[in-house]
Symmetry: C5
Subunit: 156 residues, 5 copies
């Protein structure tokens, strides 16, 4: 049994944190879940850091939504850069599940996209907990989170 942190935001228009929790619970695997909700994506890195340092998590799924404007894109980039740093400080994975609002055509599409990406990355977190070669059978197969897989290019 591992401890999995789920960080999410009040800015998001989809309850991605609950979707991540549900996905892990429905997997049948027994893990301790720790939720941490913050205002926006720029508050996620330190939440992730604290989930490792104060709550003993082994891996974190960090869910957030990035707005339409250039300043929102900059915020997303700053958050992502810091999430990289968190991982290197603790030597643990943080699965970053960011949805950019301009990726979707409308609200229904945004909900589908956010749900699909959150679910797939929650499953990726479970796979990474099993070790470094757990995903190797899927290496180079063009997996996508949020949309359909595109597939690998046969090399023979």
């Amino acid at each position: 049994m591992a401890a999995i942190g789920i960080a999410d935001t009040t800015f998001s228009r989809v309850n991605m944190g609950r979707i991540a929790e549900d996905t892990i619970r429905e997997s049948g695997e027994q893990h301790r879940l720790v939720r941490y909700t913050v205002p926006g994506v720029k508050d996620l890195p330190v939440a992730a850091k604290r989930l490792f340092a104060e709550h003993g998590c082994d891996i974190v799924v960090a869910c957030g939504m990035v707005g339409h404007e250039a300043v929102d894109k900059a915020c997303g980039h700053e958050a992502s850069t810091a999430i990289q740093q968190v991982q290197l400080m603790v030597d643990r994975h943080v699965l970053e599940v960011f949805v950019h609002m301009d990726e979707a055509e409308d609200d229904a599409d945004l909900l589908l996209l956010a749900t699909n990406r959150t679910r797939k990355h929650a499953l990726n977190a479970l796979a990474l907990l099993k070790g470094p070669t757990s995903l190797t059978p899927l290496a180079g197969t063009g997996r996508r989170q949020g949309r359909n897989d595109v597939g690998g290019i046969p090399d023979k």
Copy 2:
């Protein structure tokens, strides 16, 4: 009782630091407030760091205004990147309350925007002091600071 740092700038055209102080005082919660005023947004990160290291703060609200020019945007980005680093160095939240001058239509709008964003993030700071699930009831509900909330997308 916690210690809350309020960092702000002389560059800003709105006294965001005082608005943050007033919001916390009016909340009725009893916290020690520590003010730190610097020239511009690029001076905020080390001010926040010192509010933690030298003044014993538990959380910091960092208020600043970002000018219209490309070079101003770069400054804002550099400051935000460093504010991320501060949080990871001390494992504490810094609520970044940045207002971009080109977000507003005129002076009156800039004042409204800066006031609204500062107040809401000061309240977010109070919520985060209560623990990681304090904001979870609002997860995925499309909260905004500075403008009206946009709401969540119902998933059922």
Copy 3:
């Protein structure tokens, strides 16, 4: 005999990790290979860090593919920035083998490009293991990975 880490992704459309492994095996040099497969490029930096810290690697080849969209380019940049940090934290080289999908004309070209770049950087890893002047005879000779070399400019 050294330990060489091979980190790669399920996002990639080419099995770059296997190509790197094959290249090193075919070189005739005897090294221990450690594979680590992650979802995407943003998961590579901490994988590389763990290959050094937990698996005793002396050098890492980090293979990934970067999508067409602006948000993909941002992801690639964030991953690259963190791969730089990993190297400075452990004082060891990480050969970054990133292929941008818009570098290629079609799937066949993408396969050629990814294969060529991965092979050449796997050989660069072997050279760097031999010491700091191992590549000096090739200094300033316009070597390229992924495409043909362009050559040096004669200075006499």
Copy 4:
């Protein structure tokens, strides 16, 4: 009496370091001044770090000029990012006095701009040495360095 570091460059077309020294001397305050001249803005961060670590400075004024080209802008951004890091490593302020050459209309304007910005930031350094609320009476009053102040927006 404090120790104030003055870092500047040979790239600059204005002797900003001397202007900073003169401003502090003319203030009547008694401080030890330490000068450190480097080629360009990208050499300033480590100069500032050494002014703290090897020369015992309490604060640093880092003066530089940024050229017209895109590559120059990138250099300025890299230098600024590192100056942020220096401050967080030592918990001391570095007043960054950067002048972008395309801010000015001609040589005379560039001289005025660089002089004004350097003088005002040298005075800001003196204020910050007096403590975190030394500048609070000016909070939100739209102060500018290099050009005229724009003023605050009255909120009542």
Copy 5:
């Protein structure tokens, strides 16, 4: 006598590392030179770090060439950012001698530019080894590396 590290690349079309070595040797000053050749600019930061940590260098000259494409510019930026970090980790200067291929009109111009910039920065390294005010007589005089100096603006 100091130890000077010379890091360079096989990507470069000009043997900048040898030019740096020759410049220092021709200066008549007696220094120990340590060469470190890597594939490209993104491999330079850790090479510089190792030149300090493993080879006892006092200063490093890091020479590289940056390609024409947007992805090359991103690589250059990532390398420069990391070179800044190296300097702050060891409190020593790294003179970054980067030549962007689109700075030059043709091969002959690229050779001139790379040679001029490398020579001038190798001499800057020698000056910086002499102490923080060694370059102060040239402060604000508009020095350039790669092209002709532009001169200072007289302020009296």
